[in-house]
């Protein structure tokens, strides 16, 4: 039996930062001396400086009577800062059908098969997430030299230095007493680096405070960014560099609801990726026309 459209809108949950599970404040291990706020003199940005980010979008749930499959679109792109300009490298956009066995053509849209990760709807959604992560990996491999900044946790080790930054903090890494320092951090200051272990990776991580104009009384977690890098080489220098990097690229609350943690170049990249994925409405209409109801 042919694939038929099951639903265009699915109950979509915000992707949890699943990878953060399993972090335990009890195993807290300080990597730099004395737990107190640190600053660093301004430093020039290394060139080239890459910002990598990806997006995923579920477009439809289809069914052939027995199984479900999720049609979606994943995209990843890189913005590179070079010669004083932020330039967009050609992004990659791919349409994938999670749970399909062979490619599916819907009008002009072609969905490549991708296997689900786990059972049921959640497994399909996880498959889509992994497809996105895979695409990001692909792009990351092509980037030569320079410093790579990825949106989210560091998932793989590359040859050059890499920084991951986490915008929202679901997991706790610090014991109670140490957490007090987070509230005391002023914009442009960071905590000393500490060790994070995750899925076989050893990472150095630290928190830093972004400026949040206009200055004023804020909840203590506003403007807090957690940055991490594989525990190798001179992570201390990277930590100091991050103080010159992230605050300068912090977005403005007037323009971005995720300010200041959503970095300016990444915000631009996300807009661009959304554009390249095509209009949600147009895609939905094509799917509806070709797969029926």
């Amino acid at each position: 039996m042919a694939w038929r459209l099951y639903a265009l809108d699915l109950p979509w949950q915000e992707a949890e930062e699943a990878l953060l599970r399993g972090s335990e404040p009890e195993a807290f291990h300080l990597l730099e001396e004395s737990w107190e706020a640190r600053t660093a003199p301004p430093q020039p940005w290394p060139e080239p400086l890459y910002f990598l980010d990806g997006r995923e979008r579920a477009e439809a749930l289809i069914s052939d009577g027995e199984r479900l499959a999720l049609l979606g679109c994943v995209a990843a792109g890189t913005v590179v800062w070079e010669g004083g300009r932020m330039r967009l490298l050609p992004p990659v956009v791919r349409r994938v059908g999670v749970g399909l066995e062979k490619p599916l053509a819907v009008g002009e849209l072609a969905y490549e098969p991708v296997s689900a990760v786990g059972e049921g709807l959640e497994g399909l959604q996880e498959g889509l997430r992994q497809a996105r992560a895979g695409l990001e990996q692909e792009l990351a491999k092509e980037l030569v030299g320079g410093l790579l900044v990825v949106d989210g946790p560091v998932r793989a080790v590359r040859e050059g230095p890499v920084l991951g930054y986490i915008k929202t903090h679901w997991a706790r890494y610090l014991p109670k007493e140490e957490e007090a320092l987070l509230r005391a951090l002023a914009p442009g200051e960071r905590t000393p680096a500490f060790r994070v272990r995750r899925q076989g990776m050893e990472l150095a991580s630290w928190y830093l405070r972004l400026p949040l104009p206009p200055e004023g009384v804020r909840p203590p977690e506003s403007g807090l960014l957690r940055v991490e890098t594989p525990l190798q080489g001179d992570f201390g220098a990277l930590a100091d560099l991050s103080l010159s990097l992230f605050p300068a690229l912090a977005s403005h609350p007037v323009k971005d609801p995720r300010a200041p943690q959503n970095l300016l170049p990444v915000g631009g990249l996300e807009r661009e990726l959304a554009r390249r994925m095509g209009s949600r409405e147009v895609v939905a209409r094509m799917l509806a026309r070709h797969l029926g109801r």
């Binding site: 800062w81 932020m86 631009g268």
Partner: protein
Amino acid sequence: MERIGVVLGSREATPLEFWVGVEGEGLLRLDDLVVVEGYHPKVGQVRYFGMVDHVAKAHEGENFDTDTFLAVEGKIPVSLAYVAHVSVTRILPEEFFPPDPGSPVYLAQGGDLELALYYEAMRNQRGSTKLPAGLLKNGEVAYLNLEFLNGVKGGHVNISGISGVAAKTSYATFLLKSLLESGVLEDAHQAKVLLFNVKGEDLFFLDKTNARLTEEARKEYARLGLPATPFGSVAFLAPPKKEGYLPDVDTRLEGVRAYHWDLVQFAQRGLLPFLFADKGALTNLGFLVVHVAEKLRRLAEKQKGPALLVEDWPGEDLPEGITFDALGRVRLQSFAELVRYLEFKLLGPESGEGEGDRGWTARQARGTLEAFVRRLRASVENVGHLLRGDRPGNPPDPLKGEQVHVVDLAKLHPQAQMFVVGALLKDLFERKERGQYRGRVFIVLDELNKYAPRDEESPIKDVLLDIAERGRSLGVILIGAQQTASEVERRVVGNAAIRVVGRLDAAEAERPEYRYLPASFRQRALILPQGMVILSQPEIPVPLLVRFPFPAWATKREEVLEDNSAEALRRELF
């Protein structure tokens, strides 16, 4: 063909207008001409020709205006969008369906440019009718279809623009140069030009080389196919000084002839109404004017002039200087005397409550008669030196002698200016009507708003309307100019097939008279530099912005190239 971009899909593309996205290093400017190829399986290949009338650049991907600062600092990626709006001038074949977004857009050059601007259609059985009218932005020659200028399909030119920078006169003279010397007008050697000089003495050096003519300008003339020379055959006519017979000019001292009418010519040609030109036409007064003019004409029948002879002037009122001639008549030797004579005929002798000659008064009330006489008396000071009884008249005759006649009006009182223009145009038009001259006659008249005002009636306006409406079939072509077309009689402007706009006043540009210009051109008319005009002609649906070369003829005294050759000195001395 140089590919410049693609038809945009983010904005609507129609058969008449579309947007172009400019690619990479491409350069697309206002007035550039482009060509797009479209295809439809049922129609086949269609080519769209168009002109760029709007160009814009913007940062894409910016949500806020202040994002530009971030883009400049290199904090967010943006892409530069460079777009242009194209007004379609032509579709070949005429299948009005829109081009596909994404279709490649090319710059129109050479043959494509000719197609885009309908140049290839500018021809008749005898050959090309492409009259050089200036240079386009891209350096190519802009053409007018002569058939819309010489009266075959249309005629008349109207030029608008504020004084000083709009270069109305300069463009008019450039057009004349092109008409007379480009070789496109077949009977150019027969064509005559009547140029009215309304201000300064600018036009008094049309026959002198301009000392400031640069090598570059010479090249432009060469590209236009015109000789970079002054006008060859020009007569300069100026009114006489109020005392004596010398021409009243300051800057040019040789080669200027004084012109005036004698009283017999004045009466025979029925020029009296042109003295009342600027007055509103009170019905009774207007009637009386026509009546008296007719009486004067009969009086002057068979007279030779210059003085007008009358029989019935009473002896006692005779001023000195009036003498009886052999025929027993009184000789009127000046316009002032003619006025006094008319006063006598209309109101009777000065002494006593006499009555005028019933044959002349035409049963008009005394008040009307008095108004008539009052106005006539007031005009003595203004036109007395132009209407004389003591010398045979020699009014300008543009149909004889030199090809171009420059008639100076600059120093005349407005009433006298009216009179000269009216009298000359009437005479000229009547002679053309009677078929007395075969060649074409081009009349250049500035300040049309004065001679053919929108709201008032006047005998000159009637003549101009006549020329505007019937002139082209008779070979009388009016090249009219004014600061504000909105103040000129609609039918005079409306009959002009070719319209030229120089720099405009902002308020003026918004008037309905300029609606034929696309909005972008109305905007640009406000900032047009000197030497550039917007040219509209019936065949091309978009106006052209053209630049015309610096005059090869002097436009003021200082520009005259002194001729110090031995030959010139010899001519001067012997």
